[in-house]
């Protein structure tokens, strides 16, 4: 088991390295630089600033410098927010992103599993078609359409919820962004649960349980659901990564100073280190979550551990 975990961890390193190289090349290839403005700096000032941030060195040298910092856990100073390091900026934005992301996942699980079970039990009825239809819409309608609609209805028309987030707010003010972020996930979980549930309900052990006279609810609760939820459990890893890293649009629409907004501002400001830092952080997070899922699988299914 330990050897398996170690191998998996080691195999993540080249993936991360590739991500870092690509991201590094891409941010530097973008037109403009971190210190460009309508007020163009005189050459002497521009030289001093470039020297202070080592931007006067060759790209490979800058890359090696960045990498050696990274190995020591140092994401470097932000080029735009000159009083702060990239780690501090990520550290400040992460809690809010985590709160938003985890609440969305929780909502997606509860609502998605509930709807999926319902659709499976009412298989091929109008209810089933309604649930799968709504789920289909949830998957295909992008969040930048759903979120402003939610704001229009619940904040502007009905006035029940605030249109945007502000510092020191109570948790319920996050409700609209949480729902907006959770909707596509709810749709996925619904479809996964429904499929798993239908398969489980048609399996031999459920038929046996039925023959023994068990009620439908007990069958679902104690037998079918466990089997049906296996694909949902394996979806959890990518789903968490998706809501943590993919909240850019939701954060922008609701004015939430999370990782997504930080990333967008970093890109617009050509804050090389900030963009790289967030990319590296998110890549590491996705790799870690996938690793955890793999390890879980390895634990559940010994065949995977065989070389």
């Amino acid at each position: 088991m330990l050897r398996f975990a170690l191998l998996r961890t080691l195999s993540a390193i080249p993936t991360l390295l590739l991500v870092i190289v690509l991201a590094f090349l891409m941010v530097h290839a973008a037109p403009g630089g971190p210190f460009d403005d309508e007020r163009v700096l005189p050459p002497e000032n521009a030289r001093n600033i470039a020297a202070a941030y080592h931007l006067d060195e060759s790209l490979p040298r800058q890359f090696v410098r960045y990498l050696s910092g990274l190995v020591r856990g140092d994401l470097g100073p932000s080029y735009h927010y000159r009083d702060h390091s990239v780690s501090e900026l990520i550290g400040a934005a992460l809690p809010l992103s985590l709160r938003l992301g985890l609440l969305s996942i929780a909502l997606a699980m509860v609502a998605g599993i509930g709807a999926g079970v319902l659709a499976a039990l009412k298989n091929n009825t109008a209810t089933d078609r309604l649930v799968t239809g709504v789920a289909m819409i949830g998957i295909s309608v992008p969040v930048f359409v759903v979120a402003p609609l939610l704001v229009l209805v619940f904040a502007v028309q009905l006035g029940w919820l605030p249109a945007s987030w502000s510092s020191g707010d109570a948790g319920w003010r996050l409700l609209l962004p949480v729902v907006a972020l959770a909707l596509p996930q709810i749709a996925y979980v619904t479809r996964l649960t429904r499929a798993g549930m239908i398969e489980a309900l048609n399996s031999d052990f459920v038929r046996t349980a039925r023959a023994q006279g068990l009620g439908l609810l007990s069958i679902v609760r104690f037998h079918a659901l466990k089997a049906a939820l296996l694909p949902v459990a394996s979806y959890l890893g990518p789903a968490i990564a998706a809501v943590l890293t993919g909240a850019v649009v939701v954060e922008t629409i609701f004015g939430i100073p999370g990782l997504g907004q930080l990333f967008v501002r970093g890109a617009l400001n050509r804050d090389y280190t900030l963009v790289l830092g967030i990319v590296v952080f998110c890549a590491a997070l996705i790799v870690l979550l996938n690793l955890l899922v793999d390890l879980l699988y390895g634990f559940l299914d010994p065949r995977i551990r065989e070389p």
Binding site: D36, E38, V40, E44, D83, R265
Partner: protein
């Protein structure tokens, strides 16, 4: 503008400070309270020498204090210095610091502190954006270029409270420059102790009306009254919270909900309604910032073609643009230097006083003289950075040029950084949108950007006569002579048409009726120390 009850407010603040109680009969009483201000985007730094955004400046003006400063109406006044003498040749300034000036630690603010700060500003290792603004000080340019040590900077202390600054040339706006946060003193002890982190809450030592209590990234910068400040008795408000709100629409919602007393901006789509609903709260004032279209003068069709440039300028109906498209009280621009600049009588385009009909006729004539007509129309591109307002203005100008002259203009929308690098490269740009904001209240801040060798001259405009007039203005010690040279330079610039000034921006804020002491000024500076809050 309603009269501001400043002396009464001062007295009141002193009374509150002395008694520590608040009791008032008749009139709205004032409270020490907390001022909630919208700030806009997150400041990139609070280190005076490393920041450059307006947002950073707005917070820094609450924290620190330069030798000079402004009143709420924008009048220049002594602050950290109580007075000064200027030598006959206009090159040597002797400032007398206030002996009662204190850091937030209680230490005395000395001339040596200013020497240290000016040296840090020009030190290449500091990598400051704004060190360029002190190149008028003797040796500053060479120090920034790394050719001389910082000790050579002509800023010296004579005793504890006398500061001498020697300039390369007479600089009449030097006193106005000193109001800029990059000229505020930094506290040597805390920089030596904390290094790069000295401008953080709990570490930043300030000499202004407030100290830095907290900085919650992405949401809030919190200030508290500096008890050691020499003029603390005049400060009415105890706490100031600068809220970071990127979207003006979000800011407006928060103002409406009573969460903010002052907004940093007003969203264009809400402006008309607010003008009716909150007439007294909406504060719109002229601002030293010009919105312009620049021409790339290094390539055809605009190179060596002033008739064409003039025709395009005349074809733009600025009145219609400011009223119907920009629509937030902007003023049509008929000159390059905005109105409201001190000691300056503006030149205007020769066609400024014509009717739009007459201008259109003139435009068609100039267009024909430039060699274009309906069979051979000008084909060009207008480049602008992504924004609703810029797009609407570009669309309007595109259609004005088409209707009046038959010009076939295509719109090219680019991300800000992409547009900037294209403007600088002068390879693909033809007509581009940009703006120029004055750093201090003087015509020079607008004219110097059009010098042949000015780094921010994106048009490639190069006129030796213009350069020489601006240079001669800089040599004058008599303000009237200087003014004449500057005005002549602008006159030349306007007739050359390297740019089309379209409108002058206005500052726009919503200010709660509870806020007292608010003054409109062309620099849009609103020090919290000048404000007070009436009780709800």
């Amino acid at each position: 503008m309603p009269g501001r009850p400043r002396p009464r407010r001062r007295m009141f603040a002193a009374l509150v400070a002395c008694l520590g109680i608040l009791s008032c009969s008749g009139g709205a009483p004032e409270t020490a309270g907390t001022l909630e201000r919208g700030l806009g985007a997150e400041p990139e730094s609070l280190d005076y020498h490393k920041a450059r955004s307006t947002q950073a400046g707005n917070v820094q003006r609450d924290l620190g204090e330069g030798l000079t400063g402004y009143t709420e109406d924008g009048d220049l006044v002594p602050r950290a210095a109580s007075g000064w003498e200027i030598s006959g040749d206009g090159r040597e300034f002797t400032f007398h610091l206030r002996p009662e000036g204190r850091w937030s630690t209680g230490e005395t603010v000395t001339a040596e502190d200013f020497v240290y700060s000016f040296r840090r500003l020009v030190d290449p290792a500091t990598a400051s954006f704004y060190s360029q603004s002190v190149t008028d000080i003797e040796n500053a340019g060479e120090i920034i270029a790394g050719e001389k040590p910082v000790q050579e900077l002509a800023v010296s202390a004579n005793g504890e409270f006398e500061l001498r600054i020697r300039l390369e040339r007479p600089t009449p706006y030097f006193l106005a420059l000193l109001t800029h946060p990059s000229m505020f003193p930094v506290h040597r002890g805390s920089i030596e102790q904390h290094g790069q982190q000295f401008a953080r809450p709990g570490k930043l030592v300030t000499n202004g009306a407030y100290t830095l209590m907290g900085w919650e990234l992405g949401s809030l910068i919190e200030l508290r009254r500096n008890e050691h400040y020499w003029d603390n008795a005049s400060t009415a408000i105890d706490r100031v919270r600068h809220h970071i709100v990127n979207e003006p629409a979000v800011e407006l919602n928060r103002y409406r909900a009573g969460e903010l007393h002052i907004t940093d901006n007003v969203p264009p789509e809400a402006f008309e309604r607010l003008r009716e609903e909150r007439q007294t709260e909406l504060r719109v004032a002229p601002y030293l910032d010009v919105y312009y279209y620049g021409f790339n003068l290094t390539k055809p069709p605009f190179k060596d073609n002033p008739d064409l440039r003039r025709a395009l300028s005349m074809a733009i109906d600025r009145q219609a643009l400011t009223e119907n498209v920009a629509g937030r009280g902007e003023a049509p621009a008929w000159s390059w230097v905005p109105p409201g600049v001190d000691n300056y009588g503006r030149w205007r385009f020769s066609y400024a006083d014509l009717s739009q009909e007459e201008r259109h006729r003139e435009a068609r004539r100039a267009y024909a003289e430039a060699g274009y007509d309906s069979d051979n129309p000008l084909q060009t591109e207008i480049r602008y950075n992504t924004s609703d307002t810029h797009q609407r203005i570009a669309l309007a100008i595109q259609s004005m040029w088409r209707d009046v002259l038959g010009v076939e203009a295509t719109l090219v929308n680019e991300e800000f950084q992409v547009l900037l690098s294209n403007m600088r490269a002068k390879e693909v740009t033809q007509v581009f949108r940009s703006s120029w904001r004055g750093d201090y209240n003087d015509a020079n801040t607008f004219l110097q950007v059009m010098l042949s060798d000015a780094p921010s001259n994106m048009t490639g405009y190069s006129n030796k006569e213009f350069d020489s007039l601006v240079a001669q203005a800089a040599e004058q010690t008599d303000p009237e002579d200087r003014r004449r040279f500057l005005e002549e330079a602008e006159h030349l610039l306007l007739s050359d048409h390297p740019v089309i000034p379209i409108y002058f921006y206005v500052s726009k804020h919503l200010v709660s009726p509870r806020v007292r002491g608010w003054g409109d000024n062309v620099l849009d500076y609103h020090y919290s120390q000048h404000l007070s809050l009436s009780a709800e």
